[in-house]
């Protein structure tokens, strides 16, 4: 069972030529995730969502505080789905999948093809990314993250660059594949609708990277877009979001 422990996490970016002021992306964030849950981190731009995922993935270092992603006491294996597909354009789809695999064998190729089939792309394994649409490329990105058999799955607004219909269809793919694997997932988004459709728990961040609210979503899966129960919770989360906006605007500590 995977655990992600985030303690008093702060990230401050130093001034640059383009931005002469230092920027605080995360300001003492603490949270813990235990077990096979899908956690959505929701917040406006500048609330440090992507920074949080990068630190959990180990590609950025915190200014202070700590992050530990563990699986049975050892460092957890991480699978990352980015905002853009980030595929290597000179490799075919299946070779892109195999790039993140430690061992290249017939078995790993079969596994790659299995996950491609899971996202409905079984017949494009030998095409290059430039031959796929944006939605298909993002599905490859999702399949690639699952291929490494991650203990912790990180998703950074994976549908934000897609049109609404494609985004919805990809959410269905993600939900289906996650239900089969039940990985610990940390999903960053600014879209409350998709957060409620996918998550067991929503952590709301406010600008400056501080937790504002922590909401449990207890709804059966698979959840459907437009389902009345889903819509009710979306309305409630949006109401809290508006309240947070007002609180931030008026400098209040909370609502």
């Amino acid at each position: 069972m995977a655990t992600v422990l985030i303690e008093d996490l702060t990230k401050v970016y130093p001034p640059t030529i383009n931005n002469p002021k230092q920027v605080q992306a995360l300001g003492g964030l603490s949270m813990s995730i235990t077990g096979n849950v899908f956690v959505a981190v929701v917040g406006p731009s500048g609330s440090g969502k992507t920074t949080l995922l990068n630190i959990v993935a180990g590609v950025e270092l915190p200014t202070s505080g700590s992050v530990r992603a563990l699986q049975e006491g050892v460092p957890a294996r991480v699978g990352y789905v980015f905002q853009e597909p980030r595929l290597l354009p000179w490799r075919t789809v299946v070779d892109n999948m195999l790039y993140v695999q430690d061992r290249k064998s017939d078995r790993s190729r079969r596994e790659a093809e299995f996950y491609l089939q899971m996202v409905g792309l079984g017949d494009v394994a030998d095409l290059y990314p430039s031959q796929l649409s944006g939605g298909m490329q993002q599905r490859v990105g999702i399949a690639r993250a699952f291929l490494v058999n991650p203990d912790v799955l990180l998703l950074d607004e994976p549908f934000s660059h897609l049109d609404a219909l494609t985004g919805r269809s990809l959410r269905d793919y993600l939900q289906r594949i996650w239900l089969q694997s039940r990985k610990t997932a940390l999903f960053v988004t600014h879209d409350v609708t998709e957060a409620v459709e996918l998550a067991d728990r929503i952590v709301m961040l406010r600008p400056g990277g501080v937790t504002y609210d922590d909401i449990s979503i207890d709804l059966p899966r698979p959840r459907r877009h437009g389902d009345p129960a889903v819509r009710d919770i979306q309305d409630e989360v949006l109401r809290r979001f508006d309240a947070m906006g007002a609180a931030v605007r008026f400098g209040a500590e909370g609502v």
């Binding site: 180990g58 290597l88 354009p89 290059y128 031959q131 649409s133 269809s169």
Partner: protein, 281 residues
């Protein structure tokens, strides 16, 4: 009144067929224009040789062609060509090795970029004949002259393109690789080299085109064998036909290497740049 257009599978395949036909015509048009270019070149040569100059100044194309055939059969073309091509290859290989080091310095160090950028600009602007003369003064008649000159002239082109390729690497792909636990060596082999490979090849092709001309020029001045020496000997004995024949054969072979080998390698390595097919999401 509004109109509604319907796209049926049949009309899509008709459209594709039309586009394929257009692409085929475009390919044939390109080939025809290449042939037409050569025909015009030979035609102008023929007219100038016939009407403007004497045969001692410029022999007609067919005379040079017959002489070239004789050179191929009777005058040790193979041995001289081997000597020249090996020097070009050795100089080119040295330039590649040197460019990897210099390209890495320029790509990843601002200080080195400033320093070497100016030096490389300076080297590119030196007339190539200066290298030939200089190698004669410094090295005398030596096979090292063409090799070193090829290396010096080719290096700036390959280095600049290599550095551009490395600095143009998509940083997000490196972050992706790191997030999936790829090692530094895996990132170099899997991301850095492939993403700068086309840029390097472009530079190499350009460098090759300049390098063999310099090698030939240096051989004319300072070599004990090779095609360049044969051109000089023909010139010294007023054998203008032989001079043109030797030069023509070497140029044709170099152009074939440039176009049939280097360009094909480049085309093969850029296969992935196929346009989007417009398939459903």
């Amino acid at each position: 009144m509004s109109t509604v257009s319907t796209v049926t599978p049949g009309s899509v395949s008709e459209l594709s067929a039309r586009e394929l036909r257009r692409a085929a015509w475009s390919r044939w048009g390109y080939r025809l224009s290449v042939v037409a270019g050569w025909v015009v070149f030979v035609g102008v040569w023929y007219l100038v040789a016939r009407l403007v100059l004497t045969p001692q100044q410029l022999p007609q194309p067919h005379v040079v062609a017959v002489e070239a055939w004789d050179v191929l059969r009777l005058r040790e073309f193979g041995g001289n060509f081997q000597a020249s091509i090996l020097r070009v290859a050795a100089g080119f290989l040295l330039a590649l090795l040197l460019s990897v080091g210099l390209g890495l310095l320029i790509a990843y160090s601002r200080w080195w970029r400033r320093l070497l950028g100016r030096v490389l600009q300076f080297v590119v602007s030196i007339p190539t004949v200066s290298f030939a003369v200089l190698s004669l003064i410094v090295l005398g008649i030596s096979p090292m002259g063409p090799i070193l000159n090829t290396m010096i002239v080719a290096t700036p082109y390959i280095t600049t393109n290599l550095a551009q390729g490395l600095t143009g690497v998509d940083r997000r792909l490196i972050v992706m690789s790191e997030s999936f636990g790829r090692t530094r060596a895996q990132i170099i082999v899997g991301v850095l080299i492939p993403s700068s490979l086309l840029s390097i090849l472009g530079g190499a092709r350009l460098a090759f085109a300049v390098a063999w001309r310099v090698a030939l020029l240096t051989e004319i001045f300072a070599s004990a064998d090779g095609i360049g020496l044969q051109i000089r000997r023909s010139f010294e004995s007023y054998d203008i036909q032989g001079m043109l024949a030797w030069a023509l054969l070497f140029i044709v072979i170099m152009l074939l290497i440039e176009n049939l080998v280097l360009r094909q390698v480049e085309r093969r390595l850029s296969r992935w740049r196929t346009p989007a097919t417009g398939v459903a999401p």
